[in-house]
């Protein structure tokens, strides 16, 4: 082979080799890694819901505690990050006027409640953890919670009655509002 052609061939081969090396290097080339920090926060929640908005007592019997309202199913749900207990409190805003029929009043001390067939108690307790009214409240339950149970719920049946032992009422419709509120302590 003529030396000129031979050298030309060697040079061309070298050039192709360099070029092919560069081609390989540019496929699969990666940049720096940029990052986006993502933070999503789920806020703590505490809810109480009742299956009905109204509990009724069709006919009051004076001088008796056999005045049962229709039962109410309650669901208390919590999703927490801290705290040691969840409590449910029922309370009347004005204890002296738990139920009213015009000027005829039934105080909260004559209204009793219980959950899950425990013993009835009147709504005469103090507030719990800032929830409720002094002399017009009743704690239905207090359940311990911890890191393993910060996310939970429970269902309870609330029974209400009028204890009118020693009391005679004026005929008419008596209405009132029982407030239900849960608190974490």
């Amino acid at each position: 082979m003529h030396p000129v052609f031979k050298n030309a061939l060697i040079g061309t081969a070298a050039l192709l080799l360099v070029t092919s090396s560069s081609a390989v290097a540019q496929i699969g080339l990666t940049s720096n890694v940029a990052t986006v920090a993502l933070t999503a926060t789920k806020s703590p929640t505490l809810t109480v819901s009742a299956n009905v908005a109204t509990a009724t007592l069709a006919s009051i019997t004076d001088n008796s505690n056999a005045n049962n309202f229709t039962p109410v199913s309650l669901t208390t749900a919590w999703n927490l990050t801290a705290g040691s207990s969840v409590s449910l409190i029922g309370w009347f805003a004005t204890p002296a006027q738990a139920l009213a029929n015009g000027t005829d009043l039934i105080p909260s001390s004559k209204v009793e409640g219980r959950v899950n067939a425990a013993g009835f108690s009147p709504f005469t307790s103090a507030a719990v953890g800032g929830v409720g009214v002094a002399g017009g409240s009743l704690q239905f339950f207090s359940q311990s919670v911890s890191a393993g149970s910060y996310f939970g719920s429970r269902n309870d049946q609330l029974d209400l009655r009028l204890n009118l032992a020693g009391t005679t009422t004026m005929a008419g419709d008596y209405t009132g509002t029982l407030n239900l509120q849960a608190v974490v302590q």
Partner: protein, 188 residues
């Protein structure tokens, strides 16, 4: 036709004479091939939205992260040696895109959209990696640009919108869920 042949043949004859003449003068010719390569370059910067905070997550709903992630990409590549420039978003561990105290949110629940790119509607970060960028099942190709002579040295700016899709996902325990979305450009 004859006149044309004469014009063609004449330079060939001269070339032979000149080549032979050179050989007679120096005996050998050396050819040095020169090759200078400008290295390819890829750049990636998040100009805004690098920190995304979703303050109040709602269960069983699609939650929008508050602002777009603005991404600026630059490249300088050889169109003869590079077909495409691609931007990939990915999570290092797809099963744990966002990590909470007791619950992890997988990358399938993180949706991305780049209206100027490929996922023009919100799409889950569940694709496989591209080349050496990304992770299997935890990636999303955001764009792919065909390289040619006109854009071999170029840049672009895109907005990446992100969502947290909790539809059908079990209710999250309260708390903070944190993670890192990686972005990388790769040539193919």
């Amino acid at each position: 036709m004859m006149r044309y042949s004469r014009f063609v043949l004449t330079p060939v004859a001269l070339s032979v004479i000149l080549t032979l003449g050179a050989r007679e003068l120096s005996g050998q010719a050396r050819i040095i091939s020169l090759a200078a390569t400008s290295p390819a370059d890829l750049g990636l910067v998040v100009t805004s939205g690098a920190v995304q905070t979703l303050a109040g997550v709602t269960d069983n709903a699609v939650n929008n992260f508050p602002s777009p992630v603005v991404i600026q990409t630059t490249w300088s590549v050889n169109p003869g040696q590079t077909n495409t420039v691609n931007l990939v978003a990915y999570f290092a561990v797809p099963a744990q895109a966002l990590v909470g105290l007791t619950t992890q949110i997988p990358s399938s629940r993180i949706l991305g959209r780049m209206t100027t790119g490929i996922p023009t509607t919100f799409s889950a970060v569940t694709q496989n990696g591209i080349g050496g960028a990304g992770t299997a099942g935890g990636s999303l190709r955001l764009y792919s640009v065909v390289v040619n002579g006109g854009n071999k040295n170029s840049s672009r700016t895109d907005n990446l919108d992100l969502q947290l899709d909790l539809v059908g996902f079990p209710a999250l325990p309260a708390g903070v869920y944190a993670g890192v979305l990686n972005l990388r450009v790769i040539t193919q």
